[in-house]
């Protein structure tokens, strides 16, 4: 396992865009005769339905029993590297989300049916939140009998504390949606509470109010229909005020979910055991079948796949969190029908696209030429083979509501390896032969190989390519600068919750352009900006989804700020003794809340 192994997975975890991250390196087969066992297009249709807001009934526990489930036994988990953070306030990346589902609870959470349809239900709250003025103010009431792992009751003061602590300077990595909505966009919200709740100061009641021990009221300047979905993010899980140890909380968080951390050896292992103070009746989604999880680090994808495939000893009870079937092992898994029974597949929320720096690449013909020319199939095959990805047609991922399967303005499905003639013609039309373009890529082996393929193709259509290697550990920070001096650079972005409002505004809202913002293409189109503000205010999800789809068409066809390359897919394998394994649309990995051991 060469050096690049760890770098690859770790780099991807750190480097990918704001949305929840998935590791991409899983392989698959494609057009060579055998039926494409990978997830087909119509499964995607399930995932891209608009989310239903569940009522109080849907939020009351206990969760419906999983057929054939029995309790007892300890599941084994193999992980490549440490969770980067344990403090929910600092958790944004996907492996954090899986752990969060086990030990933390927030005001709301997602319930999922067998076909993957998502319903937003109350977790600590009695329902998914009530609003009377179209989303300008939201009221949540806490369920009865809620206790944290130390047995302390959970009150509205704890909820207030969990939100206000996100203003403190030591929280740097978590999501910023709710804070920005409450106290001002970008990072200006920090001025509202520079030291967080630790010096006795609180947000004014006009912004965040706790009239009694059970209710919490959020008041915004303008409507935010997506608040309940945002609060389901791990970043907004509850942190009890009494036991908040600020910076040290990142290594010893207090659990409110069905499991709690028994022992944590950094870089080595973590063991979870049952949290007696979690009451199944207050939770309509999670289960507590297994007695605990024994998580072991330093097992890369290759190691995990081989061990679980061999299915010996403790590997029989093995569960993958963010691990994937490694590219080299895909062939062994796919050709073994017995092993295929213990695998799950699904779309990860990421769209890999090649951004054009619109400040430097002003000619749309050149941009279109490159979009036509890109060999998407060859590029994603380098990043996990057929099971690792699928040719992308637009900038919206199949997992995001508003995705249209047959919307393919650049004919990518017909020509997955790119249309060189059309591209050459466009370049000639634009008189851009020999134009110099600076293509940047991260210094991991996968990105280097993709750079070779892309540069090769851009030269083929007549452009003079300058390749610029950038250290992959800080890729997004360097590419995120406004004056980055680059023309083309690949980025991956995934939704935070199933709504295009977490895809289009962060990537294409010109008003947010600044160093470190995710508007990588520096697109600043007044019509697009105003349309984004308008749609954000639509409270009905279905109507908003139709508007986002129209805006998506306009951006792709009129401006084409980024050439879509590929969607990512997830392919995981589990021990033979593990039951209840099912792909979760919410976390885009296995649904950890319903794991049980058969024997």
């Amino acid at each position: 396992m060469s050096i690049f192994g760890t770098r690859k997975t770790r780099a991807v975890v750190v480097a990918l865009a704001a949305g929840s991250l998935a590791l991409t390196a899983c392989g698959g087969n494609s057009d060579s005769g055998t039926k494409d066992k990978s997830k087909t297009q119509e499964d995607a249709a399930q995932q891209s339905q608009a989310v239903i807001f569940g009522d109080a009934a849907a939020s009351t526990g206990p969760a419906p029993e999983v057929p054939g489930a029995r309790s007892g036994g300890t599941a084994t988990v193999y992980q490549d590297s440490d969770f980067s953070h344990l403090d929910p306030g600092q958790t944004y990346v996907s492996d954090g989300k899986l752990l969060d589902r086990l030990i933390q609870r927030g005001l709301t959470q997602y319930a999922e049916d067998d076909k993957g349809r998502l319903t937003l239900v109350g977790d600590l709250a009695t329902d998914s939140g009530k609003t009377t003025d179209g989303g300008k103010s939201w009221t949540f009431t806490l369920k009865d009998g809620l206790k944290d792992q130390n047995g302390n009751a959970i009150t509205s003061a704890d909820v207030r504390h969990s939100i206000e602590r996100l203003y403190a300077p030591f929280i740097t990595d978590g999501p910023t949606y709710v804070q920005a909505w409450l106290s001002g966009a970008g990072t200006t919200y920090r001025k509202a509470l520079p030291d967080g709740p630790y010096k006795g100061k609180h947000l004014p009641d006009s912004v965040l109010a706790t009239p009694d021990a059970k209710t919490v009221v959020f008041k915004f300047k303008d409507a935010h229909p997506d608040l309940p979905q945002a609060l389901a993010m791990p970043g907004y899980s509850l942190v009890p005020a009494k036991t908040d140890t600020k910076e040290k909380y990142d290594t010893a968080p207090v659990a409110t979910g069905p499991y709690k951390i028994a022992e944590f050896k950094p870089g080595k292992s973590m063991t979870l055991v049952k949290n007696e103070n979690w009451d199944p009746k207050t939770d309509s989604v999670r289960h507590q079948y297994v007695d605990g999880f024994n998580i072991q680090y330093n097992h890369d994808d290759d190691d995990q796949t081989k061990t679980i495939l061999a299915d010996r000893g403790e590997a029989k009870n093995a569960v993958m969190f963010t691990g994937q079937v490694s590219t080299n092992q895909v062939r062994n898994v796919v050709n073994d029908p017995e092993a295929m029974k213990r695998t799950i597949q699904g779309y990860a929320p990421y769209v890999w696209q090649l951004n054009f720096n619109l400040d430097r690449m002003k000619d749309k013909k050149v941009r279109d030429a490159i979009t036509y020319a890109l060999p998407s199939a060859q590029i994603y095959k380098l990043d996990g083979g057929a099971y690792g990805g699928e040719t992308a047609t637009g900038l919206i991922s199949p997992t995001t509501p508003g995705y249209e399967k047959d919307y393919d303005p650049f004919g990518k499905l017909k020509k997955p390896n790119g249309d060189v003639e059309k591209a050459k013609a466009l370049i000639k039309e634009a008189g851009a032969e020999g134009q110099k373009v600076v293509y940047a890529y991260g210094n991991t082996p996968v990105r280097q190989q993709q750079a070779v393929v892309i540069a090769d193709r851009l030269k083929a259509i007549g452009l003079d390519v300058v390749k610029k290697e950038i250290d992959s550990a800080t890729w997004y920070e360097q590419v995120g600068k406004v004056q980055n001096g680059l023309d083309l650079y690949m980025t991956g972005w995934g939704q935070d919750w199933p709504s295009a409002s977490t895809v289009i505004p962060p990537l294409y809202d010109g008003t947010q352009i600044q160093d470190g913002s995710s508007v990588y293409s520096h697109i600043n189109d007044p019509k697009v900006n105003s349309e984004i503000q308008r749609i954000l205010k639509i409270s009905d999800p279905a109507e908003a989804q139709k508007a986002w789809t129209a805006l998506h068409h306009d951006i792709v066809e009129r401006i084409n700020p980024a050439a879509p390359i590929y969607f990512t897919k997830v392919f995981q394998i589990f021990g033979s003794n593990v039951g209840g394994i099912r792909y979760s649309t919410d976390s885009s990995y296995v649904d950890v809340t319903r794991i049980f051991l058969k024997k």
Partner: protein, 343 residues
């Protein structure tokens, strides 16, 4: 050349053939006597069969590296085109080469590279070319710096020698592999404007600079010790008395006598430098795609060894043969130059 054993009683009846014995005897003696030390060493080296064989192999490798473009013309393929991507039958759906033993075939002698599908034979040839040239440059630099510092330290002695000694110890204290990894980005960034692509030549320059910065100490110590003993010798005293300037003494008196250790050390230094270049690429700070590189073939090969062992066998075997030949050559050169050590 065996002279008849002349026993006591045989002397009176010397065989008629005696005259020619003496004739070629004297002729033999003359040739032996007339040879300069260099020729003597060359004669002794020529007789050492393993030395000659290893020299041939080493020259073959250098020739292959030098004539890479010619081989490319004859062979018809080049190390950069993505053959596997263009024609779909070379790579299967898992991006592994189809066909026997890594896709060996008539037009791809050593098979196809997984994933990108480049030609392995050309990758190896050009990979050797890059590694050998870089290593050669680094070795030359190491030898120059090492000899210079060793000579100056050894000859002048006193404070200069003390501080040079401290510098050598200081640099020897550095964990060299770690230093390479840390300093490469710094050195590369120092030469390149941010939006410019790093030209391969410049990256090679950076590698040579970094390798030689931490490579010369061993040779410097060796040369310093040799100089110290030479300095005491009479002919150096004589040159001093004759009014020769220190630099002239170093150049004319000391250097010629140091040729042996320098040459022996250089022949051993080159293979180890090649391995360091390979290490840099293996760790990811050496040459980047698409420059073909010997070390990187191992890094990629190690990952997919289970699926496609062939990709690693060719560079591996080539490396073993090259390093063995070089070590043998180094031993023979050492034996030819100072036979005292004997094998």
């Amino acid at each position: 050349m065996t002279s008849p054993v002349q026993t006591e009683d045989a002397s009176s009846s010397t065989a008629p053939g005696a005259p020619d014995v003496s004739k070629d005897g004297t002729q033999e003696a003359k040739t032996l006597a007339g040879l300069s030390p260099g020729q003597l060493m060359w004669r002794r080296f020529k007789r050492d069969r393993t030395g000659v064989v290893s020299a041939v192999i080493v020259i073959f490798f250098f020739a292959v590296a030098l004539l890479a473009p010619v081989i490319k013309m004859l062979y018809g393929k080049d190390p950069y085109t993505l053959y596997g991507q263009d024609s779909l039958d070379l790579l299967d759906e898992f991006n592994m080469p189809t066909g026997t033993f890594g896709g060996m075939s008539a037009d791809h002698w050593f098979g196809i590279e997984p994933n990108l599908g480049r030609d392995v034979f050309m990758q190896l040839i050009y990979g050797m070319r890059t590694s050998i040239y870089t290593a050669l440059a680094a070795t030359v630099l190491i030898v120059i710096v090492g000899v210079l510092i060793g000579l100056v330290g050894g000859y002048f002695g006193g404070r200069i020698d003390y501080w040079l000694g401290r510098l050598t110890d200081f640099l020897l204290g550095f964990p060299s592999q770690l230093f390479f990894i840390a300093s490469m980005p710094v050195v590369v960034a120092a030469f390149v404007r941010p939006d410019e692509e790093t030209p391969t030549a410049l990256r090679a320059g950076a590698i040579v600079a970094v390798l030689s910065f931490l490579g010369w100490m061993g040779l410097a110590r060796l040369i310093r010790a040799a100089t110290l003993s030479l300095r005491e010798r009479e002919f150096v005293e004589a040159a001093k008395i004759a009014g020769a300037s220190p630099w002239r003494i170093i150049r004319k008196e000391l250097l010629p006598n140091l040729v042996t250790p320098i040459l022996v050390q250089a022949t051993l230094q080159l293979p180890s430098t090649i391995l360091s270049v390979a290490f840099l690429s293996y760790v990811g700070v050496g040459f980047v795609e698409p420059t073909p590189d010997w070390g990187r073939m191992f890094a990629i090969g190690a990952d997919i060894y289970e699926q496609d062992p062939a990709y690693m066998i060719f560079p591996g075997v080539a490396m073993v043969i090259f390093v063995v030949a070089f070590n043998l050559l180094g031993d023979s050169v050492r034996d030819a130059f100072d036979p005292k050590s004997g094998r």
